[in-house]
């Protein structure tokens, strides 16, 4: 039983990957002749993957170097997002007045695409780098805001009653009860925000042409090197997956406390 399940946990994902590769091959051979096959993609990407940190100029670097540039940009944007989003979430959760004032604004701002924010960022900041950070932060912070607010509002009323019968000061209440009780929700928000930040980075790099994995993707599309688009897509997916797993581990630790 255990042997069979461990076999299937190993084999089934491979079967999934094989299916995707098969569909891709069929597509490139019979439907879209411009789409490079998996094998051609690998051959043309090989130098970028096997020497991931070479640098031959701003827009011709190993895939690892591009990934690091993007990750650094995401780190800055994500940090900005949670630095703004966490206190905003606590305010929304704690103050009914604040909630009534800002809930509608937030509901309207939440569904706005990064593609819409970026031009605004360029107008405000004049340069592409701060505009990209502005876009990432503005798009990625909402899950943190919403989850933190929900977390504050769903604190077990017994914990709050304990604080009330002991006459804890508002600061002690926040420090000893509200923040620890909300922490698991906050970290769920962080995980979702990081996922969004990674989604937004690609769009913002494509539009600003900044060096990074998204910028590389767009440049290679313009240079008609289609295999590198696929290389970028696979890399983006793998890094996004790794980031989610990483934050998931942090989240589990916090929940376990």
């Amino acid at each position: 039983m255990t042997r069979r399940s461990s076999l299937s946990t190993l084999l089934l994902p491979f079967a999934g990957i094989a299916t995707v590769l098969a569909v891709w091959t069929v597509l490139s051979r019979h439907v879209a002749p411009d789409l490079p096959s998996p094998w051609r993609t690998w051959k043309e990407s090989e130098p970028y993957v096997l020497r991931p940190f070479f640098k031959d100029g701003e827009m011709n670097q190993g895939i690892g170097r591009f990934a690091l540039l993007s990750l650094w940009r995401v780190t800055k944007g994500f940090s900005l997002a949670i630095a703004i989003g966490t206190p905003l979430g606590f305010l929304l959760g704690l103050s009914p007045t604040f909630r009534r004032a800002f809930e509608p604004v937030i509901q309207v701002m939440r569904p706005i695409s990064p593609l819409a924010w970026l031009p605004l960022g360029l107008i405000i900041f004049q340069r592409s780098e701060p505009a990209a950070l502005f876009t990432i932060a503005l798009c990625a912070m909402w899950p943190t805001v919403v989850n933190t607010a929900v977390g504050v509002r769903s604190i077990n009323v017994e914990y709050l009653n304990v604080g009330r019968v002991l006459r804890l000061s508002p600061m002690t209440m926040l420090r000893k009860i509200v923040i620890p009780a909300t922490l698991p929700y906050v970290f769920t928000g962080y995980r979702l925000s990081l996922g969004l930040a990674w989604l937004v980075i690609v769009a913002s790099e494509m539009l600003t042409g900044a060096p990074g994995i998204g910028g590389f993707l767009w440049q290679e599309y313009n240079s008609l090197v289609y295999s590198h688009i696929l290389l970028s897509i696979v890399t983006i997916g793998l890094i996004g997956f790794a980031l989610d797993r990483l934050m998931g581990m942090v989240e589990t630790r916090v929940r376990g406390l």
């Binding site: 009330r164 006459r167 804890l168 000893k176």
Partner: protein, 276 residues
């Protein structure tokens, strides 16, 4: 054996006085639901009083007003000559669930109360008092453990330690043993009997367990079923202190008293459901 609520006892017997306490809630669509009306009760210092009644009759409402977590619609509660307004550390509270903060250890949960009660005491002193409070309920070894690592009975012991640690003038216990299994419940009832015997602090405890009330209380206050719940009858429990479960159960008066309580509850049974 039975006493009316408005008995003629001296003022010193009015250590804790519930006076014409009423609680109304507005009902959606207009009107009011009257949960409790004209609840009158005088508790003497050092007395152990149990309040029984059907679930939803408003006994927990009365207690949460005494805790300061709810305010009365009219009437009030006077403790040692001062009216109760809001929560205060002069009242130790034990809830139905242990209500421990899961991210704090047992000691830290007790310290939460001690830090509030004795903000000027040295840290080491407060820690010593927290450990002493845990030792009193038989948890000397559990100070560093988190609630999740403790059994339900041990968790409620920590809750009791937290309430006793600050040496409140009165203890307010809201069905503190009702969520425990039968054996643990008996264990904690005996523990409560022993703890109370040590300093005979004033206790008001809400319960729906008549045996628990007869074991622990000096007087059992029977509440009528809501709406408009109030004190129906008061039963004086004559068993000598210090009490032991076996002795109480052997007492010839035990079953008649128990019958009296059950008969009252049966009479009230028809009006169940607090809100019309």
């Amino acid at each position: 054996m039975q006493l009316l609520a408005g008995d003629m006892r001296p003022v010193s017997d009015r250590f804790l006085e519930f006076s014409r306490l009423s609680k109304h809630f507005p009902v959606p669509g207009g009107g009011e639901a009257v949960i409790v009306e004209d609840f009158d009760l005088r508790v003497a210092e050092g007395e152990f009083v149990c309040v029984i009644g059907h679930s939803g009759c408003g006994k927990s409402t009365v207690l949460s007003i005494a805790m300061g977590l709810a305010s009365p619609s009219s009437g009030g509660i006077i403790l040692a000559g001062r009216e109760i307004v809001g929560p205060g550390l002069d009242r130790g509270v034990v809830f139905q669930s242990p209500a421990l903060l899961p991210w704090l250890t047992a000691r830290e949960n007790v310290l939460l109360a001690l830090d509030q009660a004795l903000p000027d005491a040295p840290r080491g002193e407060r820690r010593r008092l927290a450990d002493a409070a845990l030792a009193r309920v038989g948890l000397a070894e559990a100070g560093d453990r988190r609630p999740a690592e403790l059994s339900a009975g041990m968790q409620q012991r920590v809750g009791i330690a937290r309430a006793f640690a600050v040496e409140p003038r009165v203890l307010l216990l809201d069905e503190p043993f009702s969520l425990l299994d039968a054996f643990t419940r008996m264990d904690l009832q005996d523990e409560m009997l022993r703890l109370w015997e040590e300093d005979r602090r004033t206790v008001v405890m809400v319960t729906h367990d008549v045996d628990e009330a007869l074991l622990l209380a000096d007087r059992v206050v029977m509440m009528t079923s809501g709406p408009r719940a109030r004190v129906g009858e008061i039963l004086r429990v004559p068993f000598a202190r210090p009490r032991q479960r076996a002795r109480v159960l052997e007492d010839a008066r035990y079953y008649p008293l128990r019958e009296r309580l059950l008969a009252f509850l049966a009479e009230q049974g028809g009006h169940q459901g607090a809100i019309p």
